[in-house]
Amino acid sequence: MEIITYTSEHHTFRKRLRVFLENEVTPHVDQWEADHIVPKTVWQKMGAGGFLCPSVSKEYGGIGGDYRYAVIVAEEMSRTRCTGLAASLHSDVVVPYLDSFGALEQKRKYLPGCVSGDIVTAVAMTEPDAGSDVAGMKTTAVEAGDEVIINGSKTFISNGVICDLLIIAARDPGIASKHHAVSLYLVEAGTPGFEKGRQLEKMGWHSQDTAELFFNDCRIPKGNRLGENGSGFIMLMQKLQQERLTCVLGAVPAAEMILEWTVDSCRKLLRNGKPLIRSQAIQFALVEMMTEVKLGRTFMEKLVMDHIEGQNIVIETSMAKYWTTEMVNRIADRSLEIVGEVGTLESCPIVRAKRDVRVMSIFAGTNEIMKGIAAKFMGM
Amino acid sequence: MQLLPYTENHHRFRARLRKFLAEEVVPHVDDWETDHIVPRDVWKKMGREGFICPALSKEYGGAGGDFLHSTIVIEEISRTNHSGLATPLHSDIVVPYIESYASEIQKRHYLPLCASGDVITAVAMTEPNAGSDLVSMQTTAEADGDDIVLNGSKTFITNGINCDLVIVAARNPLAGNPHKAISLYLVEDGTPGFEKGRRLEKMGFHSQDTAELFFNDCRIPRTNRLGEDGDGFYMLMEKLQQERLVCAVMGVAAAEQIFEWSMRYCRETAGPKGPMSRSQAVAFALVEMSTDIKLGRTFLDKLIAEHMAGEQIVIETSMAKYWTTDLAKRIADRALDLFGQGGTLETTPPVRAFRDVRVMSIFAGTNEIMKGIVAKFMGM
C-alpha cells in the first residue's frame, strides 16, 4: 500500500532532482565539509532547476506544489549526505513564514529571489539564553518613527553566514505578556547594525554555516514586520507543525541511508573469515533496526498525508519528531558498533552520519520540549 | 488519513459487539479467570450474533464480512481484559485451514457449526520437544488401510479443553524429506485414543483452557486429512501471515487498552502536587507510551490494508508480530510503575494484562523466530 500518493509530476520532479544532485552536489560534498560552507552558486543552480520553494505559487516563480515535494526534496537531499545545502530549511520552514504571513509587497519583493536561490533565508529564534524556551527571548524590537530598532543576539542560526534574508523574532520590551510581545521581522544582510558573527564549530553539520548573529541598534523599516504586531508567537506556533514534520523528513531517510550502508558493510566485512551478516546477533540487530525504520517511515508517511489534508496533528508531529530523531541516533550508534573499528574512521560514511544526526534530537525544539508539548496537548 | 476502509457496516458491527461483550462477557470474566475456563454457551451466544467467523462466507454460515470485521472482534475482545474467549484464534487462525484446505463435504459439515459456536476448534502443532521448531515434530500419522493412526502428544494448545475439533499436525514416519512429511488432520473430540490432558497452570491467560493433548493409537478416517499428503508444512506457512497479523492486532489493542487505563488513572489520582499526570516524569512516560503505540498502530493498519489487498508481506508481518507484542509487554510493564503499589494488586486491571501479554512474545512463533524469518527473507 502506498500511503503517499505521488503523481507523475512528482516522479518527474524527483528524477530531475536526483540527476541534479548527483551532478552538482554529491561530487562536492567532501570539499564543502572541509570548507564549512556551501557556495552560493549551488543555491542558484538549484533554484534554476526549480528545486527551491516548490510550495510557492507560480505567481512568484514557484510551482505551487504540495508538501509531497518537500518529502521528495528531503529524501533526495538525504542521499547526498550534505547538511550544508539546507534547502528544506529554506523552502519548507523559513520561506513559508513569508509566504503565509507576508504582505503583498514583501512577497513580491522577496519570494522570487527565494525561489531562484538568489536569496537564501534563515530564521533566528534561538538566543544564547533562550533555547527551547521561546518565551524567554531577550532580543528587543523598539519602534521609533517609521523604523524598528533591533538589539540583541541570536545563535545556532543555520545558513547564518550565507543568508541574504533573515526572519528574526524579537520582543517589544513595552509589552508585559510574553506571548503578545514577540513579532517577526525581515532583516536583509548588509543592514547596518546587523552583523554575522563567527561560524560555530560543531560535532557535525560541517558543511553547514551555522553562526551567531548580532544586532546593535539595527534599524529596519517598520514595513519589514511580518503580520500583526505581537503575533509572532502565534505565527511560530502555526508553523511549528510543518517544521517538526520537516525534521522527521530528515531523520527517516537518514536512518534508511545509514542502515543501507550498514547492511552492505555487513555483507562485505569479515570476522573470523565469515561475513558479519552470517552472525545471528548481527542479523537480529539489523532486523530490529529495519523494523524501527519501517515503523518510523510508515508513521511519517501517514503524518505527511494528514498534514496535506490540513489536519491538526500537533501531538503526532511532536511525537514523530522526537521518536524518529531518537531512532536515527539509535540506528547510527548501533551501526557503528556493528561495523567495529572501521566505525572510528572518518572515511566510514556512518561516522559523518553519526556526527550529523546527533543534533536532530536537539534542534527545532529539543525532544524533551516535544514530549512536553505532546503532554500539554493531550491534556496533562 | 484513514489507512483502513471502515464502512458504516463495520462501525455498526463494532457497536453491536461492544454492547454484547459488555452484557454477556465483561460481568463474568472474573469468574472465568477463577474457573480457568469459559463456558461453552458464551460461544454459542456469540455465534448466534454473528461474531464468530465474521469473515467466513455466508455460503458456509459465516457472516460474509472481511478481515476488518475480524480485526474489530480481536480489538473488542482485548478490551474485555481476559484471554479465555479465544474466538479470534478459532475464527481467524484455525477455521481458515478448513475453509482453504478441507473438502467440500467437510466444509459443509463443519463450517456452519464453527460459525454458530457449536464447534470450538483448536490447532495442535507445538509439542513438548518441538516448540518453534516444527520440523522436529514427533507426533506420527501412519496409514493403515482406510484409516490414519495418530500417536504422540501436543502441548500449549489453546482451547485445549473446550475444543470439539482439533487440527493436528503430524508426521509420516516413512517420508524422507522432513518438509514433505507433515500433514494436517481433523480430529474430533471423543475419537477413541484422543485424550485431553491436564489444563496447564500459567502466569496469565487464566480463563484460557490451554492444555496438553494426547494421541494413543488414535484412529481417524483417511479422509480427515486436510489437502494433499505431505502438504502440511506448506499449508502452515501459507496461513502464518494472517496468524502473525492477528497477534499484532492483539498486541496493539492490548497496549491501547492498558494505556487508556493508565492515562485515566494518572489524571484522576492525586500525587503530592496535583494530579499525577502533572508530574513531568509521569507525563513523559505517558507520552512515550502513547507514541510507541501510535507507531505500532499506524504500522499495523497499513499491514492490515496490505493483507486485505492480498499482498505478500511475510517480512513486515513478522516484524510487526515481534515489535507489537514486545510493545504490549513494555507498555504493561511501564503502566504498573504508574500505578505504584496499586500495581501489585490483582484488582488493578493492568495487572492481569501484565500477566496476560507476557505470552504474546512467545506464542505463534517466538519473537526470536520472527527475527530469524525476517533475516532469512531479507537474504541474510
Binding site: 545471528q280 | 502466569m203 508530574s279 496499586g342 501489585t344 494488586l345
Partner: protein
C-alpha cells in the same frame, strides 16, 4: 569490598544449604494459592539465625550487618524467590525498633522477633505510592499516660499477621521532615485495629499485605519509637536501609531466574542444536550475567557503606532502582529463553518475574527513586 570475608562466605553457604534442604517449589505454589505464610520454614530459619541476623546479639540477633542480611536474602531468593522474600520480610519494620527504640522497648520486643514468636509490620503510607509522605492523616494524641491512634495505613506488609506494627502518626500541629510526626509501636492485640486484606496480588501471595485501620487505639506513652517529631526523618532512614535489602532480594531473584535459564538452554534442543549453541542465546546469557553482576556490585556497595557507618541514601535508592529493573529484565529474558514453558507455573521463572516487578513497585517506583537520588545529587538550589 570486592571480596567477602570468610564468615560472610560461610553465611552464604549456610543459607544455600538451608534453602536446598527446606524449599520445595510444590509447597511454594500451594502456599501462594492458599495465601499462607510459610510458618514452618520461618521457624527453621529462626533456629539457624537467619531472621534478624543484622540485629544486636543481646536481642537474639546475629550481631552482623546489612551486607550479611543481604547475602542471606539474595541466597534464599535465588533458590526460591517467594520463600526467600517471605523470610526476608518476616521482620520487616523491626529495623526501626532496632535503630530508634529505647532499651526497654527493644528488650521487650526484638527477642520475640529473633526467636520467631512474631512477624512484624510497619505502616508508613496512606496512598498507593510507596514513598509519599505528603498525605499523613493518621494521628496519635496524648491522653493521660497513653497515645490514642486514629487513622488508616495502606499496603502494610504482614498486615493482619504481625505481632506489632510500627505506625507513623501525626503528633504535632505542623508536619514536615523534622517536626510533628512520630513513630508509635502498636501491638497487634490492642483493641480498635482493623485489617482489610488487599486480596490477590501480582506476586508474593503467601505474605499478607493489608490496609490497617486504627480506631481509638490506645497504647502506652512508652511505645513512642525514637524522638517525638522525627517520624518522617526516621521513616526515611528506615527506607534507605530496607531498600538495600530489597535490592539484594532482586539480585537473588535475577540470579535464580538466570540459573534456571542457563541450565535450560544447555539442555534444550531445537533445530538440531542446543539452544546454547545459538549466538542470540549466548548473547542473551552474556547480557543477563553482566546485568546481575552489575546490580550485585552496587547492592553490596550500598550495604557495605551502611555497615561501615557511612549510609548513603542516594546509593540505597540507586541500588534498589538498578537491581529491581535488572531483575525484571533478567527474569523477563529467562521466560523468553524458556519459550512456552517459561509462561507455565511449573518452570518458576514466571513467578520470579512477577516478584521482581513487585520489588520495583514497592518502597517507591523508579520515579520515586530518581526523585530521591536527584534531591541528593543536585542538592538545594540557590
Amino acid at each position: 569490598m570486592f571480596e567477602l570475608t570468610r564468615s560472610q562466605k560461610e553465611i552464604q553457604k549456610a543459607a544455600q544449604e538451608f534453602a536446598r534442604g527446606e524449599f520445595d517449589k510444590e509447597v511454594t505454589v500451594d502456599l501462594e494459592k492458599s495465601h499462607t505464610y510459610p510458618t514452618e520454614i520461618w521457624k527453621k530459619a529462626v533456629e539457624l539465625g537467619f531472621i534478624g541476623i543484622q540485629f544486636a546479639e543481646k536481642y537474639g540477633g546475629g550481631g552482623l550487618g546489612i551486607l550479611d542480611a543481604c547475602l542471606v536474602a539474595e541466597t534464599l531468593c535465588r533458590k526460591d524467590s517467594t520463600m526467600g522474600s517471605a523470610l526476608s520480610l518476616a521482620s520487616f519494620g523491626a529495623e526501626c525498633l532496632h535503630r530508634f527504640g529505647d532499651e526497654k522497648l527493644r528488650g521487650s520486643f526484638l527477642p520475640r522477633v529473633t526467636e520467631g514468636e512474631i512477624l512484624t509490620g510497619i505502616g508508613l503510607f496512606e496512598t498507593e505510592r510507596g514513598d509519599d509522605f505528603s498525605v499523613l492523616d493518621t494521628t496519635a494524641v496524648r491522653s493521660g499516660e497513653e497515645w490514642v491512634v486514629n487513622g488508616k495505613k495502606r499496603y502494610v506488609i504482614n498486615g493482619g499477621t504481625a505481632g506489632f506494627y510500627i505506625v507513623l502518626c501525626r503528633t504535632g500541629e505542623t508536619c514536615d521532615e523534622n517536626n510533628g510526626t512520630s513513630m508509635i509501636l502498636v501491638e497487634a492485640g490492642r483493641t480498635g485495629i482493623g485489617c482489610i486484606p488487599l486480596g490477590d496480588k501480582l506476586a508474593l501471595n503467601s505474605v499478607a499485605i493489608a490496609d490497617l485501620t486504627f480506631d481509638q487505639v490506645r497504647v502506652p506513652m512508652s511505645n513512642l519509637l525514637g524522638k517525638e517529631g522525627k517520624g518522617i526523618a526516621q521513616a526515611r532512614a528506615f527506607l534507605d536501609e530496607v531498600k538495600i535489602l530489597a535490592a539484594a532480594r532482586a539480585v537473588g531473584i535475577a540470579a535464580g531466574a538466570f540459573d534456571r535459564a542457563l541450565a535450560y538452554v544447555k539442555q534444550r534442543e531445537q533445530f538440531d542444536r542446543k539452544l546454547a549453541q545459538f549466538q542470540i542465546t549466548r548473547h542473551k546469557i552474556a547480557d543477563m550475567a553482566t546485568k546481575v553482576e552489575l546490580a550485585r556490585l552496587i547492592t553490596y556497595r550500598a550495604a557495605s557503606d551502611f555497615d561501615t557507618g557511612k549510609p548513603d541514601p542516594a546509593m540505597s535508592a540507586m541500588a534498589k532502582m538498578a537491581a529491581a529493573r535488572m531483575a525484571v529484565e533478567v527474569s523477563d529474558e529467562a521466560i523468553q529463553l524458556f519459550g512456552g514453558y517459561g509462561y507455565m507455573t511449573e518452570q518458576e521463572v514466571e513467578r520470579y518475574y512477577r516478584e521482581a516487578k513487585t520489588i520495583e513497585l514497592c518502597l517507591g517506583t523508579r520515579e520515586s527513586q530518581k526523585d530521591r537520588i536527584a534531591d541528593i545529587v543536585i542538592g538545594k538550589l540557590k
